[in-house]
Amino acid sequence: MDQQQRENFLEIRDLYVQYHTDTGLVKAVDGLNLSLAGGETLGLVGETGAGKTTTALAVMQLIASPPGRIAGGSIFLQGENLLKKSKEEQRHIRGGKIAMIFQDPMTSLNPVLPVQEQIAEMIRLHRKADADEVLKKARDMLSLVGIRPERGSEYPHQFSGGMKQRVVIAIALACNPTLLIADEPTTALDVTIQAQVLELMRELRQHFNTSTILISHDLGVVAELCDSVAIMYAGRIVEKADTKNLFRRPLHPYTQGLFRSVPDLTGNVRRLDTIAGLPPDPTNLPPGCCFASRCNIAEPDCSRSRPSMIEGETGHFAACFKLGKRGGV
């Protein structure tokens, strides 16, 4: 176990998360395997409905139940299974050891509390310290994220979108978590403000050395911040590799299609290559490869069983039957 603890800081095995809805059982996460090394920043990429946020919420133990339910699997953080913890233990881990940055800074702050109070609240919950110390720490966090500590007594509506997201980052990092999950942290921001926040996240990563899962649909943001990338499709990881390998030579047909769909900033092409069709209905996932119906190299066999992850190149995994056959797609 000790060996694994060092190598596999976070390990998610065969995770199933389902939502019971009127239209049927939504299989949001369907047999997901993912691991993260200590100090690593992993980009989790996928389209709307791929199950990225559900995965994050499962790690945070924040799946609303009902309608949601973790139907199977395990999540090990530093060798301990988070799914076996009591409610009390979970509350300590959440915010203390694992923190999350949500997508929308406009709705993730309390509008009637000064921002320094919201940071202090986090520290009070997880650390023993007197009121003065807590306030000082809260103000230190503000200056760390580039906000003048004097502004700590102001309310969220007095801050712009980019500044609010800085406050959210300060709250998340206040207890020096070992794992940070950032769910689309810059999606709601303008491009020049996004550049500021990305720069801040890069600096903070050096400062804290926190292991991070960055959820994003923006391949550009992932290319800039992440050491490795996992591509998610229909509740599963379909490809994983370090960032350079994955961007230079994507192996899975879905990843390849994803890259071709992005308008290029260097060429002068007027028509984009697209992936035909839509992702499968999560209430009715096909028995075989979920991408088979949209895949241009699929064979009848692809629809019979689920492909498992195959190591196409050293450290570069993809879930595609064709990979094993031809040593590359």
Partner: protein
Amino acid sequence: MNGPADSGALVEIRGLKKYFTVPHGLLQAVDDVNLSVAGGETLGLVGESGCGKSTLGRVVIRLLDATEGSVFFDKEDIFLYNKKALRNFRKRAQMVFQDPYSSLNPRFSVEQLIAEPLHIHRVCVNERETAAKVKTLMDIVGLASRLTTSFPHELDGGRRQRIGIARALALNPEFIVLDEPVSALDVCIQAQILNLLHDLKDEFRYTYLFITHDLSVIRHISDRIAVMYLGKIIELADHLEIFIHPQHPYTQALLSAIPLPNVDIPRAGRIILEGDVPSPVNPPAGCRFYSRCPSRWDRCLGEAPVLRELSPDHFLACHFPGRVDKAKHIRPRTALESAEL
């Protein structure tokens, strides 16, 4: 400001201003904009949230009235149209909205949604003709005919946006304002819609005003690009020219801020702007970009730069073009600041 210039432009915007009265003063959403869109052209309008691009788009097709200035459509001032002429203009100029979730009536089926403009303008003589026309429109935008009786909540964002486009095309317009038509969509669906817009234009020779904050999308779809900042057009050029030779410090910063999905292009000197876009309520005199500009000088504070032609077909509103020192990232100190030291 009399008639339009004899430029052959389909849409000519002259000295256009749109101000809103707000509790603390005057919100100058669009301030003295001059632009023209040639027939068959796609003009891209790019800027950050709150810069006035959507307001401009709405004024151009008279969904909002202008505070000052004119918009000439086919050489006629749209603000001087009488009721009948305006009704005719509505057929010729259409709009596609950003959010396909809130811009469609949830109680209308796909067929009713697409037929609505046909009914309003009494284009078809009977229901059979309307149904046939709806069917044709659904084919054009790539909606399967089995979806005729579906309701918007049953459809994904890409299909809803196709309905929005079909509604805009229903009256055979010449000019279409597209306000962030792909911003709410996933990248694969976005690519499908961008291809659709491109093909439609090839086939029907539409003229587009394409509004977005997404720089890679705007470069992809546009013939010319106008960059907007705090109510003003600050740079206007061919879509490749502006990406290769951006001259305004804001354009340069904007372009350098795009995260590229490529690990092999080295990031040369990203310009990170300070602060946020200032409020458009009672903006200061002088250049509106002054407070964030990495290469500001005294002159910029006193005198607002006007849009002028820097090189053929490349227009710029800056006193000191191309002066950002990318290598150092350091903003030259203004004389005012130097005096304070």
